[in-house]
């Protein structure tokens, strides 16, 4: 299948391993990526916290460019995904706002783009059976908790992703890879998000709670689809509680025997290679 691809800023920077594993997994599963022409930042938390129209106009510029084809728009970053879906939500219900935003971005906006996260595309379109059939190295011994966080799920009528209180799609992908995902009650809790610089001490407390609860559930790692969650899990957890964290695409690549995982795991703040070598997975 062909998709329009919006990598967003972090996939070229702190989430480089998410970007590289996304491209490798897409290629292996036959998802052809066509990058949004000359894309720009979605504005993230900083735009919607300070200026409503800006928070709609920045995603709208990218959506207007993506609408030129009728392919789904694949947005791997949970934060970008949330901003795209929110902009579509506001523009759909307010014709005057839509006209104003079209003037601001200097382009026509129809709202026709179907914005989707790769968890949804891989889990539903490629399918769990097809994914399981491609596995060459079962992730036996890997006991992740699937950590969905906030931005893929809430508000549910905007995100249209999975059950807002008990999402299961990423858990099912992990099962298809031969891993043994653990049930836990913290899969939709917040990691502290963008407070990581301005209020680090709060974020450390929140991440430590997630790690402690993951351990209590019998997990030996966490898996996520959000660069902000990943940055906080990987960099803010206290040493005495921390577990390795992975992007779900890194684990798909590992199970499919693709090239790259070892160099991606090396990029994590908490080097995950010794952990995986201990499980005989690397």
């Amino acid at each position: 299948m062909k998709v329009t691809y919006y990598p967003g800023c972090t996939l070229h920077g702190t989430a480089k391993e998410y970007g590289q594993s996304m491209i490798a997994v897409s290629k292996a599963l036959g998802i052809e990526l066509q990058e949004v022409d000359d894309w720009s930042c979605c504005g993230a938390t900083s735009a919607h916290s300070t200026n409503f129209k800006l928070s709609v106009a920045l995603p709208a510029r990218n959506l207007a460019a993506a609408e030129k084809s009728d392919q789904p728009v694949m947005v791997p970053c949970a934060a970008c995904f949330n901003r795209f879906k929110s902009a579509q939500h506001y523009l759909k219900k307010d014709a005057a706002l839509k006209a104003e935003i079209e003037g601001i971005i200097g382009a026509a906006y129809t709202g026709s783009a179907v914005v989707r996260n790769p968890i949804d595309i891989i889990g539903n379109d490629i399918g769990l059976k097809a994914l399981a059939a491609r596995v060459t190295k079962k992730l036996t011994g890997l006991k992740p908790v699937a950590y969905y966080g906030c931005l893929l799920l809430r508000p549910p009528e905007v995100c249209e992703f999975d059950d807002a209180e008990n999402p299961m799609l990423m858990d099912k992908i992990m099962t298809a890879l031969g891993a043994e995902p653990r049930f836990w009650s913290y899969k939709t809790d917040c990691c502290g998000g963008s407070l990581t610089l301005g209020k680090t001490e709060i974020v450390v407390k929140m991440v430590d709670k997630l790690m402690t609860m993951a351990k209590e559930a019998g997990a030996n790692c966490l898996v996520t689809a959000c660069p902000i969650c990943m940055a906080n899990l990987d960099m803010r957890a206290s040493e005495n509680v921390r577990l390795p964290a992975f992007y779900f695409t890194e684990l798909i690549a590992l199970a499919l025997g693709l090239e790259g995982p070892a160099q991606w795991f090396k990029m994590h703040n908490v080097d995950a290679r010794p952990f995986l070598e201990g499980l005989d997975l690397l």
Binding site: S40, S49, L54, L58, R154, P155, S194, T200, M235
Partner: protein, 174 residues
């Protein structure tokens, strides 16, 4: 301009916040409630009582992380997450000093970075944040580690049509 309550309702553009019957479900699920000066439910009550200055001066509006648990669970569909956005925007608009200065500094630096290159250049944004916030020394070892691991690039691809991006920032500026 109407009352504080009317002004906020108009900016939210959804369910009026008088619909709140103070069940406090928003506050029970709020990950930041324990560190907030006033919890989300108290903020609603204070708005209803017209305590404009106390609300806009509070740390609460800056500590809200926009996790949207409140709006997801509110039985009356009061959009508390959007209300927090609106309160931050009003505080900026009315020139109220942000109680959590570094959080607003981060937002300003983030948006300045978009104006500079259309896309976020993380090392330049972080350096800018450190200079503006005065928090020069935290996370330096981690930053150095990321540089060694090849995750930090000083030169990153930018948006080509910067005129369009700057236009968006200028036309939406108040």
């Amino acid at each position: 301009m109407g009352t504080f309550l009317q002004d906020i309702n108009e900016r939210i553009g959804g369910v009026p916040i008088q619909r709140c019957y103070h069940c406090r479900k928003c506050t029970a699920g709020c990950p930041a409630a324990s560190v907030m000066e006033y919890n989300p439910n108290k903020i609603i009550k204070m708005i209803q009582m017209g305590r404009r200055d106390d609300v806009l001066n509070s740390s609460t509006i800056w500590l809200c992380m926009s996790c949207e648990t409140c709006i997801t669970r509110c039985p009356n569909e009061v959009d508390i997450a959007r209300m927090m956005d609106v309160l931050r925007q009003m505080a900026i608009e009315f020139g109220v000093d942000a109680r959590e200065k570094n959080i607003l500094t981060f937002h300003k630096v983030f948006l300045a970075n978009i104006k500079f290159g259309g896309r976020i250049n993380e090392p330049i944004m972080l350096a800018h944040y450190k200079l503006k916030s005065g928090d020069l020394f935290s996370d330096l070892a981690m930053g150095a580690g990321m540089f060694v691991k090849g995750k930090i690039h000083l030169v990153a691809p930018r948006t080509k049509n910067m005129k369009a991006v700057r236009n968006i920032l200028e036309k939406t500026a108040r």
